[in-house]
């Protein structure tokens, strides 16, 4: 899967889980940029992402992501 495709799918997931109107994620986006993205919704996002892409992350990986770019890197690694 191409990175751009992954980003598109992530946008959909974020809109759905966080109840947003729309979002444009980039490599540099962090939780500080989106108000509804807190530690609680973070885990809900992870669950949705794992389901959507059919992957499973380790706890350590989840803790280490500093921005969306690193999240996408992890997805790419697993696919």
């Amino acid at each position: 899967m191409e990175r751009t495709e992954i980003f598109e799918k992530l946008n959909e997931i974020f809109v759905d889980v966080l109840d947003l109107d729309e979002v444009e994620l980039t490599d540099a986006t962090t939780a500080d940029d989106i108000e509804e993205w807190d530690s609680l919704s973070h885990v809900q996002l992870v669950v949705a992402i794992e389901k959507a892409f059919g992957v499973k992350f380790t706890a350590l990986e989840i803790m280490k992501w500093k921005n969306v770019g690193e999240l996408v890197d992890s997805i790419v690694q697993k696919l």
């Binding site: 530690s39 885990v43 669950v47 706890a59 350590l60 803790m63 280490k64």
Partner: protein, 482 residues
């Protein structure tokens, strides 16, 4: 040496003058502060000082080893981190909880008819242990997660752990925000010193004019609850919560202020918790350094581990999270049930979250002040009930206290109550006013007014009020026992 004593300030003066004048670089400054911190801790508890130095050395080594293994041997890194956490928990368990467990098991066996030798382990809990072990464990976890860089500088690391303004009672700092500050020399900065002094003054005000004035009354009421009627208990409960807040917040303010004078920023511990609109928000504003620690290192991992169980996984993680916070306070069933109580409340809040947001949207309640204040009142009442549990010496005492509510109302217990009304009440109003301004306007208030005369007069009046109306007989601090 408590922060609100003349001895402490003499010590501090002796430390801070050379701190600014004698050293050309951060190495000298850090070493000097480290020595001062060890002297300070030794003064409080010299028998445990070797333990402090020892674990600091061990964790210093662990940090470096974990960082080395993070990329090359992740399994090893995980194992070392786990070792660090177990070591920290082990120390904590031994000093804080072991005696309690032995006691409970002995009682359990006795009730089952199995005789056990009556042994009361006299393990004296070292002061500050809950705080520095948490810093140590946090450090190795952060290094493992690569959210903090490990340090090769042993002095900086040891200072981070033993930093005297915060070692006895927090706030609990993080390596990622504290260590970088130690890498530069701190120069005398007038705004830091001025701001630091103002915070110390405010902390002193909270503690001596509110907490220590309320304390004698609530201690007598709750210590002797069987003699008091429902009216007295109902008045004492919220007063106790205010006392707990001003006691701990006051102390935190003084610690943060002292650090600020030295040019070091310590994490905040409180953010006007009485303005929280629900229990979840309250915990994000109360003892923040502990709550964030437990959230980052207990709640998140649990939440992630339970993520496939949906809402029930979240509830389980929440409950365990709050139980951890409760039990951190000490080895007593009251702390455990305190955690359970708040865990359940939080689950309710989480469960109703979406429904509440829809309700608010439908009725346009977002900016409704009356609605906001009724939520705050409800939250305050929830915490008031929790604080009665928190202060009880045992579950029996808690239940006994609650039982008094059914014994009928009557006149308020008025012994020594007048000093609360004459001193603590205006002081509490002042505190509330200041917090209200900070919450809603975020700008000028007296000590930070742009007008220098207002500033100086405010400070002078505050100092005078503290000396005139404060309980100055050096009362100790509730959170010292944790």
């Amino acid at each position: 040496m408590v922060v609100n004593s003349i001895n402490f300030w003499l010590f501090f003066a002796a430390v801070v003058v050379p701190y600014f004048l004698c050293f050309r670089g951060q190495r000298g400054q850090n070493l000097w502060l480290l020595l001062a911190s060890y002297v300070f801790y030794g003064w409080a508890d010299w028998k445990i000082l070797p333990l402090l130095v020892g674990v600091t050395a061990v964790f210093y080594g662990l940090g470096l080893a974990i960082a080395r293994n993070n990329e090359s041997n992740p399994r090893r890194a995980s194992q070392l981190t786990t070792l660090g956490v177990l070591l920290g928990l082990g120390i904590l368990f031994y000093f804080k909880y072991f005696g309690f467990f032995v006691q409970e098991f002995t009682a359990l066996f006795a009730s089952l008819g199995v005789p056990c030798g009556e042994r009361t382990l006299n393990i004296v809990m070292p002061i500050g242990i809950s705080f520095f072990t948490f810093k140590l464990m946090g450090y190795v976890i952060e290094v493992h997660r690569q959210t903090a860089a490990p340090t090769r500088d042993a002095v900086q690391f040891a200072l981070f752990i033993a930093f005297f303004p915060t070692i006895l009672s927090g706030p609990i700092d993080r390596a990622a925000t504290f260590l970088p500050q130690l890498q530069r020399r701190r120069r005398y900065n007038e705004s830091d010193v001025s701001e630091g002094l103002k915070r110390v003054l405010w902390g002193l005000f909270l503690k001596t004019c509110i907490a220590d004035v309320i304390a004698p009354w609530t201690t007598v009421v709750f210590g002797n609850y069987a003699h008091h009627n429902a009216t007295t208990i109902l008045v004492a409960a919220p007063l106790y919560l205010i006392q707990l807040y001003t006691d701990f917040c006051g102390f935190s303010e003084m610690a943060i202020g002292v650090a600020r004078i030295m040019g070091l920023r310590v994490v905040e511990n409180f953010q006007r918790p009485f303005f929280a609109k629900n229990v979840a928000e309250y915990w994000r504003r109360w003892h923040m350094s502990l709550t964030t620690w437990i959230t980052d290192y207990v709640f998140m991992p649990l939440n992630v581990a339970f993520r496939d169980w949906g809402l029930w996984g979240l509830y389980a993680a929440t409950l365990l999270n709050l139980i951890a916070i409760g039990v951190w306070h000490g080895a007593n069933w009251t702390y455990f049930w305190f955690g359970v109580y708040h865990g359940l409340l939080l689950c309710i809040v989480t469960g109703l979250d979406k429904r509440r947001k829809r309700f608010e949207k439908a009725h346009h309640l977002k900016d409704n002040e009356l609605y906001a204040w009724s939520r705050r009142l409800l939250t305050f009442l929830c915490f008031t009930f929790g604080s009665v549990l928190f202060q009880a010496a045992s579950m029996g005492d808690f239940l006994g206290t609650i039982a008094r509510l059914g014994q009928g109302f009557g006149p308020l217990y008025s012994e020594e109550f007048s000093s609360l009304v004459i001193y603590a009440l205006p002081a509490t109003c002042l505190m509330f006013l200041r917090e209200w301004v900070a919450e809603y306007r975020r700008d000028i208030h007296f000590m930070h007014s742009p007008n220098i005369i207002v500033r100086l007069v405010s400070i002078a009046l505050l100092i005078s009020f503290i000396i005139y109306a404060g309980q100055l007989e050096g009362n100790s601090f509730i959170y010292f026992q944790f």
